[in-house]
């Protein structure tokens, strides 16, 4: 006999970015299509909030949990709560021990960014690099750090050599304008550098980096690869029709997270055995493939 629909709890990463927004939208859409009841809350990119949300959702009698928490260190606490309530958990992007993992492969994404930049450098700068600048963001936590920290390794994978001393880290403080000012400082401190590879943890920070380079008239001196492939990257790319040194952003397809995750939920409900982890196929979006993945007339965030 048909009973009430299965209640799925979803704690989102942070609805204040378009990334989280797209995840949320797709989750809701897919849940509705497949007949699940979904209860959505916002973790606000804060571990402590995620812990509290876990308790709130448990008190709302959910059957299955989709946890999108960016703070690795609170994972054990969260899992302890859901285990105690016997609620199965699918964890997005950050491994939660005891949960089924789905999502980003941060180290792979970082390496891919480096390899993309490496290919470009081999083609355009004859395989030479003077500096590798990593725009880090400690406030976002260590889990996502490999997205930039693996960048140098990716470049080296392409046969480009440089010393560790040529790697410079700048804290963007999760603030585009601050990032911009600091990168402008970097450029001034290295007036003669012509071959700088830059990686950022997201597209917003990258837009700051690129604005600084443009303003200083040195956009030619950098090659920039960012992460997430949101509007911040796609729109300017179309605007200049690929004539930019912000060559790529690594796609995570947040607009399809719902689809992927509910495939796992379906298996769970059907009682199938699950793999411990399901990964996204990250793709480096460049001008060459952008029309295929992000056609201008059908952008995933257009309806937000």
């Amino acid at each position: 006999a048909e009973t009430a629909p299965i209640r799925v709890g979803f704690a989102n990463i942070n609805e204040k970015g378009s990334f989280g927004k797209m995840v949320l939208q797709n989750m809701k859409k897919v849940a509705a299509e497949r007949g699940y009841e979904i209860i959505c809350v916002d973790n606000n990119s804060d571990g402590a909030t995620a812990v509290q949300n876990a308790d709130t959702l448990i008190s709302m009698d959910i059957d299955i949990m989709i946890e999108f928490n960016v703070d690795q260190s609170v994972a054990p606490v969260i899992m302890e709560k859901f285990n105690a309530a016997s609620i199965p958990v699918i964890a997005i992007d950050i491994a939660h021990e005891g949960a089924t993992f789905f999502g980003a492969d941060n180290a792979f994404a970082g390496t891919l960014a480096g390899e993309t930049a490496g290919d470009w450098v081999n083609k355009n700068w004859g395989g030479e690099i003077e500096y590798v600048v990593l725009i880090v963001q400690p406030v976002s936590g260590p889990a996502v750090a490999p997205r930039v920290k693996m960048f140098p390794e990716g470049i080296r994978n392409k046969g480009i050599a440089f010393e560790d001393s040529q790697i410079v880290e700048i804290d963007g403080q999760n603030d585009a304008q601050f990032t911009q000012a600091r990168f402008a400082d970097f450029l001034l401190a290295h007036p003669d550098a012509k071959k700088i590879a830059v990686a950022t943890i997201n597209d917003v920070a990258a837009s700051g980096v690129y604005a600084a380079a443009e303003t200083a008239g040195r956009a030619e001196n950098i090659v920039l690869v960012s992460q997430n492939c949101t509007a911040d990257f796609v729109e300017p790319m179309y605007a200049v029709e690929g004539k930019t040194n912000w060559i790529a952003s690594i796609a995570y397809f947040p607009n399809r997270y719902g689809e992927f995750v509910f495939n796992i939920v379906d298996k769970l409900v059907a009682g199938e055995t699950l793999e411990p982890a399901y990964y996204i196929d990250h793709i480096a979006i460049t001008w060459d493939n952008i029309k295929e993945w992000y056609p201008i007339d059908n952008l995933p965030w257009a309806g937000l």
């Binding site: 916002d42 804060d46 571990g47 402590a48 008190s59 703070d71 690795q72 260190s73 260590p142």
Partner: protein, 331 residues
Amino acid sequence: MAQNSNTPARSRLRRALTTGDASSLITVSTALVVLLTFFSLASPYFFKPTVFLNIGMYAAIVGTLACSMTFINVSGNIDISGGSQIAVVGMIAAVLIRSGDVPWWVGMIGGILTGSMCGMLNGFFITVFKLNAFITTIASMQMLRGIAYLISNGQTLVISDQHFKFIGRGYLGPIPFTLVVLIVFYIIFYFVSRYTVFGRTIYMIGGNPQASFLSGIKVQRTKFILYVINGTMAGFAGVMLASQSGAGLPMAAPNANMQALSAVILGGAGLSGGRGTIGGTFIGVMVLCTLNTGMTMLSISSFWQDVIVGLVLLISVSIDAIKSGGLKRKI
């Protein structure tokens, strides 16, 4: 006297209800009742003991900070570095416990004492150099946050000690331990504020520091003690948070200070000193935490949550202001 047309008792009651602390208490209590009713009607999951206990469990962090912050505000001062203090405390506790050299409770006490030391830092600049409290704590907010990151070079430090876990996540029967701690704190602070000379002193120096000084009160010493108490309470809050999240997080509690301050203000302790009650703050904390949980349960977007929290604060202080004649006042 000629002016009283009512009986003295009635007019005294009316005066008490329309001015000062009692008036704020009524405003904030009304807000709480309205919110509880609204969420109970709007969500079938809200009106349950487990939900309330849960609200209490997470209210402990902000509530503990708000408790001593009430004293700070009543004394005519302010502290906006509480969130950073909590972060440093959690990191120190985590470092100590993870070192494996000391038992978990040494880590706990170390964390709490770290809080006291942060309070001493603030108190030192405020009472020795006579710096403005807001300015001092703007500076220490930045410095302490930087230190929290420096301790582990930005890493989060997972704490897996099973005993330590109990502090933030344990239950005494059905009651969360943090809620018990919170209630004990409020009882103690209430008692101090109402029945001790020290409590009285806080209200006096908030009302008029110069006159208090001339009444033989050691104003600077009292202020210093208040900051140490506030730091110690941030220590307790930091330890509870570290236990609740099972880790020392350098970015911990980014909004805790603003929330605690909002709760204190909702509870009627403004910024001009000499006014406010511990009970009011408690209800203020409950209002904010109920709002958080209720809005989360209703899946209200976090953008709207910001707007609503701001509005609640603004409306309730406006009601207070109107009741005490703010509209009619010319200055």
